[in-house]
Symmetry: C3
């Protein structure tokens, strides 16, 4: 693998950044302020890292106008340096691209439609009437069920499972081990015995959706499970049947959304947060890590639940009191009454 | 795919429902009350949805005798409308059925016994001495380890892993990405270094068990991990080694059961609930979502722990007090003593 | 499969145990005290199981010197009986070993280097410039990305995914469904829209690392994600990008470690514990199950958060008071002031 190499002037032009420095300077890598060397470019996105700018060995830095004075090396000045970093990161991406064409070990039903410029890896299985859009990459070992559609330029990493009748938008990125469109968890109980309910809805993903490794998105029971445009889901997330997630919401790893819940747009959920079923969560709701939501949320804002770690020795004392909390509240009320009575009597 | 079409009289007969309407009426789909059209059938299972009956465009509705008066369309009257819906759902299931036979890309050890009417998908691997019962479907990309037995009419969706010496009962349904029989998490510590313990038990699943997508069930350390008849496990669940789960218990996504714990029959665990190791949980225990169980539960009933979401602003104030809870309890006690002394003195 | 059979004297010699009994005694299995029969060996590691020794039918027992007097059968006396059990367990392991060689259905790039004595299963995919060390086993259906290195004697169970540029040490054990090296969850936000950041770091695993079934370890954004020697990770764990885990730390199932957090050595995290991002956790920290860590921990010890299950009826009363906790604390303070004033005035 030959290391990439760019001229600083070309980078500045591509990012739309204002260059303070030599446009002929050669850049061969991208690194953090602490790790970057003289041929590497770095960035200052979080002002609290400003202290590292002076001591950084970076050859150039992407930086905001407000912080630009800190830079002692070449500077690419732009409004949103983190966005600049995001854009530039793809220039240094070493992810191998699968070759255009179909690997001979792939098993593809003759009725499947395969677009132009598609790469299909080894050991793939594609069932009947699947539609693979132009420029799609299907990684090794993926399985795609009947009638599923994958939009143009989407990227399926190795070992993704798409069940039947799933719709994937354009430019989606599905990571390894993800399972999209498996059966929702629906059963009817008859005298203690569970009877399975066939899940006849679909999963529909918008454009530019990210689905993390080993994340599961269940198909709808009757209607569809719907994931909006630009939604980003981290690893090991569970999206149950009939859930709707609004555009550009992002969820960290291990989040779980129970059946039929509707999540608004531009939400941000911290790791392992959970939302109960049949709820409505408005746009712009943020949940901190491990928060449990058991009721509707109708206002944007940050929400939390639970407690955070203390020494086990202290925690044991406090946790046992949690079980006495209602009693404590009543005793407090009682004392207040007495105190007031006493106040009045004196 | 040709849409299915049935006569209402045939549906009523099959469900054992009392038909109020024209038995010749044609039904081509199943939908919610809000979405159903005049050729579709719907159901009223939850009385709180009763308000949707009057405005529904459904051509027919499965409904209880108590609610039947609400229906303005044809009605299929039966005791458990949700069960009727469950049964009928399979008539409209569009999941493709794999063809009977073995896909040529499958790798099957010559010692494996393959029953009658079995469908084995592409890219499957089946090791030595595996026994696949009659009518089993093995989805694409599944791997089945040596000596494992899969009971009649069980359905393995694509990319399931069954390790060696696993026993799967009849009519089980194993969803994509599930791993059954991988090694339990057992190590002996010697001066800070962990030494792996070979996991020589098995996993034994009863009949009619559902295992969700990307769920993991570990093999026993010495004895077996045992999942009873009719148990339903949702996605991303962890069942550790030596766990026993009683018949007809159901667990929502992301539940975790630690090693050697015994769960009774007819339990229902909400999403992300967790049970510590070496515990005994009686029959009929229900856990609400995210509940943590750290001790035995000997009585049926509903159990909970944790707190639920409030605004982060409020939560920060309350959560910091949680750490003072024991101190608050002591101060409260102190005040009560004083108050009592004062009461006595006056 | 022929059952293994050993002489007790050979076992004692191998474990370095002091044998009280007949070295010619034949041992054909390993079982718990309650299940062992006269041809089986058992062990007493937890003193609380001492009561089972007298009634056990075991033919021999691995036991400490302090407890040896309890044994009525042959005894293998050693300091750490649990370690003895761990060592002996491998003698009775029935996991099938893949044959040395490459299965004809495997797809292996011609530039890959395959060591001596390697076993590569069916339906495997190995990309360009991969380096597989001597004695490695690659289970069926694994996918190994370009330039990834797997150290000698490591064992990949079926359906593991290693992305490109991953480094796996020697004697590692990677369980089915694990995904190592998938993209970290990194996005830059521009006016509400998320832009993906290419993840150009690697994942580097030390020697003797265990990675559980369906566990995900993300590659670094710029630097590497680093897992130390002897680290043991259970199933369904999420390790985010840039995380470092110190040597010999162990984490139970469903733990989540957020991005850029550094975990020390010899830590032990209970099931479903979670650590927020950008934190530093010292050596020797233990977290109980479901604990949430939101700040640095600089001292070894046991830490906890949350509450544990009580009846839902009681819990509802207490949980509602949690939201009043700050108000209660203020009211308590107020009463104390009054009480003190009253004390002074009288």
């Amino acid at each position: 693998m030959i290391a990439p190499s760019y001229l600083l002037g070309d980078i500045a032009r591509k990012l739309g950044a204002d260059l303070k420095g030599n446009p002929q300077q050669r850049i061969t890598g991208l690194a953090t302020l602490q790790c970057a060397g003289p041929e590497q470019i770095s960035f200052l996105a979080n002002p609290s890292y400003g202290k590292h700018v002076a001591t950084s060995q970076a050859g150039a830095i992407i930086i905001s106008l407000e912080s630009a004075a800190l830079a002692t090396c070449s500077a690419l000045v732009m409004d949103n340096p983190y966005l600049g970093y995001a854009q530039l990161s793809h220039w240094f991406d070493t992810t191998p691209k699968g070759p255009v064409g179909v690997h001979p070990s792939a098993v593809i039903d003759s009725s499947a439609r395969i677009g132009a410029g598609v790469s299909i890896g080894a050991q793939v299985v594609i069932e009947a009437d699947v539609d693979i859009g132009d420029g799609v990459v299907v990684g090794h070992g993926c399985v795609i069920g009947a009638r599923t559609r994958v939009g143009c330029d989407s990227l399926l990493r190795p070992r993704v499972t798409l069940a039947h009748d799933v719709v994937i938008g354009q430019r989606c990125h599905i990571l390894s081990g993800a399972v999209i469109g498996s059966d929702g968890f629906g059963f009817a109980n008859e005298r203690g015995v569970w009877h399975r309910i066939a899940q006849i809805g679909r999963v529909v993903l918008g454009n530019d959706v990210e689905v993390g490794a080993n994340t599961t998105i269940d198909r709808g029971a009757l209607d569809d499970t719907v994931i909006g445009d630009g939604v980003k889901l981290d690893n090991l997330i569970q999206i149950a049947h009939n859930v709707h997630i609004g555009d550009h919401s992002a969820m960290a790893a291990k989040v779980g959304i129970s059946g039929s819940t509707r999540i608004g747009s531009h939400c941000m959920f911290g790791g392992a947060a959970g939302v109960a079923g049949h709820l409505t969560i408005s746009d712009g709701v943020q949940l901190t890590g491990m928060t449990l939501v058991t009721g509707d949320i109708s206002e944007p804002g940050v929400y939390s639940s639970g407690t955070s770690a203390e020494t086990n020795r202290q925690w044991r004392k406090n946790a046992v009191r949690f079980r006495q909390l209602d009693a404590m509240a009543r005793r407090l009320k009682e004392l207040e009454k007495k105190s007031e009575g006493r106040g009045r009597s004196t």
